[in-house]
């Protein structure tokens, strides 16, 4: 049996009558980069929040590294790093102060924490900007600070919600490189949610297509292409084909 670090069984969330996430069975292997793809409002963020124990599922279960996401949410949150879309930082504090606060919340303190912050700032290419207030940062800088912020707890699983949103092409290239390093160099598991297929295609080992709260298909990109008989291994095309199928199914 493969080493699954994250798995959900029948994970379901209703808001009123509407199922935002329905019967989700998701398995993610240790050390891979998994892309959760779907249009806005497909239930990606809700799924992530359920994994972190911030939203109670209506039914179903989720486990990360053997820990129950529902019962042991504090334990989960000490091992799982989460970068929300448009990660917010306290604008009146410097980048370093923001990181220090997160570090302290994770139980670090003292010179160890300072050294660790220095190392992370360097890693995300922000060592020059650590003393500036976050209010003066550009969007790309905030995103990189967000990655440093996630890494401060040295997580085994990193979850990123729309990390590439609103980043310019050059920033995007750096960001992709950083994310790739998380998996290939550090051996962390990465879960990315996105609707920007192109970047995901370059980055992910496996993807899952998420539509209307259901996981329509998952697997490696080639495999998905075979399933829909796409001519190319292009994710855009696969995605379109799935939507067409979905349309027929509904119509």
């Amino acid at each position: 049996m493969e080493d699954m670090i994250l798995s959900t069984r029948g994970l379901t969330k209703y808001y009123g009558e509407r199922a935002v996430v329905a019967e989700l069975d998701l398995d993610i292997r240790r050390g891979e980069i998994f892309g959760l793809l779907g249009p806005n409002g497909a239930g990606k963020t809700t799924t992530i929040l359920m994994l972190l124990g911030l939203v109670r599922p209506t039914c179903g279960s989720a486990f990360i590294d053997g820990m129950d996401c529902l019962r042991d949410s504090v334990g989960i949150r000490s091992r799982v790093g989460y970068l929300p879309d448009q990660a917010g930082f306290y604008p009146d504090m410097t980048g370093r102060e923001n990181l220090r606060f997160t570090g302290q919340l994770n139980g670090f303190d003292g010179w160890e924490l300072e050294e660790w912050i220095e190392e992370l700032l360097e890693r995300v290419g922000m060592s020059g900007a650590g003393e500036q207030k976050v209010g003066t940062y550009s969007r790309g800088m905030k995103q990189r600070l967000g990655i440093a912020d996630v890494l401060i707890k040295d997580p085994e699983v990193v979850i990123m919600d729309e990390p590439t949103l609103g980043i310019d092409p050059e920033g995007m290239r750096e960001l992709t490189e950083l994310i790739r390093c998380l998996s290939e160099v550090d051996g962390r598991t990465v879960l990315i949610s996105s609707h920007q297929l192109h970047q995901i295609q370059q980055l992910c080992h496996r993807v899952g297509l998420f539509v209307g709260g259901r996981l329509m298909a998952w697997g490696e990109i080639d495999e998905l292409a075979r399933q829909v008989q796409a001519e190319s291994g292009n994710l855009d095309e696969i995605y379109r084909k799935y939507f067409e199928k979905e349309g027929e199914y509904c119509g």
């Binding site: 929040l49 929300p84 917010g88 997160t102």
Partner: protein, 338 residues
């Protein structure tokens, strides 16, 4: 993985093992950060300046008022030091009534954006994703505000006392110090009630503008309009033309008092004026025959305290209930993506 990376990784692992168990320290970290935030914020400086100016103005009023009285050779100048806090002169209200009026402002200023600003800035999701229990967030915020209020109120009281001592040259006696201590404690609880209320609004409202408007609305209602509303209500419930006996009159008066005491502003004012004025013997209506045979004199601190005990529990309970509502609301709320 090359060797260097492996080494780094090993260091990281060792580092991780040395990590103390988290989540219990979360409350303290949030408390410390909130404290620092308050102290560095311009808003806090503004509040401090306002309170400082108020204290100075009221001391000035009290000292000049007392000077005139002393000059006129009035008798019965006991408890002179307490008069520093309770008496004003002409246009300047007393320290006590100024605090009753402005205290809510301090509480509101410290708490009105506690939760909804974190939401608006997108920091709440990030904060909640850290390994801390969710209640540490709201507890830490309330505690930081409460401790700051305590420090502010007591330093302000000491400052006023010291200034009065310098100007008047009359030292306080032990009982007066006790009374001032109780007064300051009441003030802390009163302002904490408003802090709890403003945190409730910050949980309830998505926008900081809405929560601040609600807070100011409550403040003005309780401080200015409550008595008017109560009078109208009493008029409706016990119309004057149907009043026949003395009992009716007393009922109507008690009703008036009881309804007024629903307002924290009234409750606090009544309590502190009882504490700071030893000649007040009752907070309720007293008939002349009940006073028959009473020896004219002052109440001891213990007796004054007995009179305001219900006020103390009332204010504490009010604050606790309001905070409990915001706590439950915050804990049961589900996070959503923005």
């Amino acid at each position: 993985m090359d060797e260097r990376v492996m080494e780094d990784r090993m260091v990281d692992l060792e580092y991780q093992d040395s990590r103390p168990p988290c989540s219990c320290g979360g409350l303290f970290v949030i408390f410390r950060k909130e404290m620092a935030d308050h102290i560095h914020s311009r808003r806090f400086l503004l509040v401090l300046a306002l309170i400082g100016l108020t204290s100075i103005a009221s001391i000035y009023g009290a000292v000049s008022g007392l000077g005139q009285e002393a000059g006129a050779g009035e008798r019965g100048m006991n408890y002179l030091f307490l008069r520093l806090f309770t008496s004003g002169s002409g246009s300047v209200p007393s320290f006590m009534s100024l605090i009753a009026l402005l205290g809510p402002f301090v509480g509101l200023a410290l708490g009105f954006d506690a939760i909804n600003r974190e939401e608006a800035e997108g920091t709440l999701n990030r904060l909640a994703a850290q390994p801390v229990y969710r209640d540490s967030i709201i507890n830490g915020k309330f505690l930081a505000g409460a401790v700051l209020i305590g420090i502010m109120v007591f330093s302000m009281g000491l400052f006023t006392g010291a200034a009065g001592l310098l100007v008047m040259g009359v030292p306080p006696v032990g009982e007066e110090l006790g009374r001032i201590g109780v007064f300051l404690l009441f003030t802390c609880i009163y302002i904490c009630f408003w802090l709890a209320l403003s945190i409730l609004f910050s949980v309830a409202c998505r926008h900081t503008a809405t929560s601040v408007m609600l807070g100011i609305g409550c403040w003005i209602f309780f401080a200015l309009f409550m008595s008017v509303v109560v009078r109208v209500l009493v008029d409706i419930l016990c119309p004057q033309d149907q009043m026949v006996t003395l009992g009716d009159l007393m009922d109507s008066y008690s009703l008036n008092l009881g309804l007024n005491r629903l307002s924290p502003y009234y409750l606090y004012s009544e309590a502190v004026s009882t504490i700071m004025n030893p000649s007040v013997r009752s907070t309720n209506i007293i008939l002349p025959f009940q006073m028959e045979g009473a020896v004219a004199g002052y109440l001891s601190l213990g007796q004054s305290l007995l009179l305001v005990w219900p006020h103390l529990t009332g204010l504490l309970a009010g604050g606790a209930v309001v905070f409990a509502v915001s706590y439950v609301w915050f804990m049961n709320r589900e996070f959503r993506g923005r």
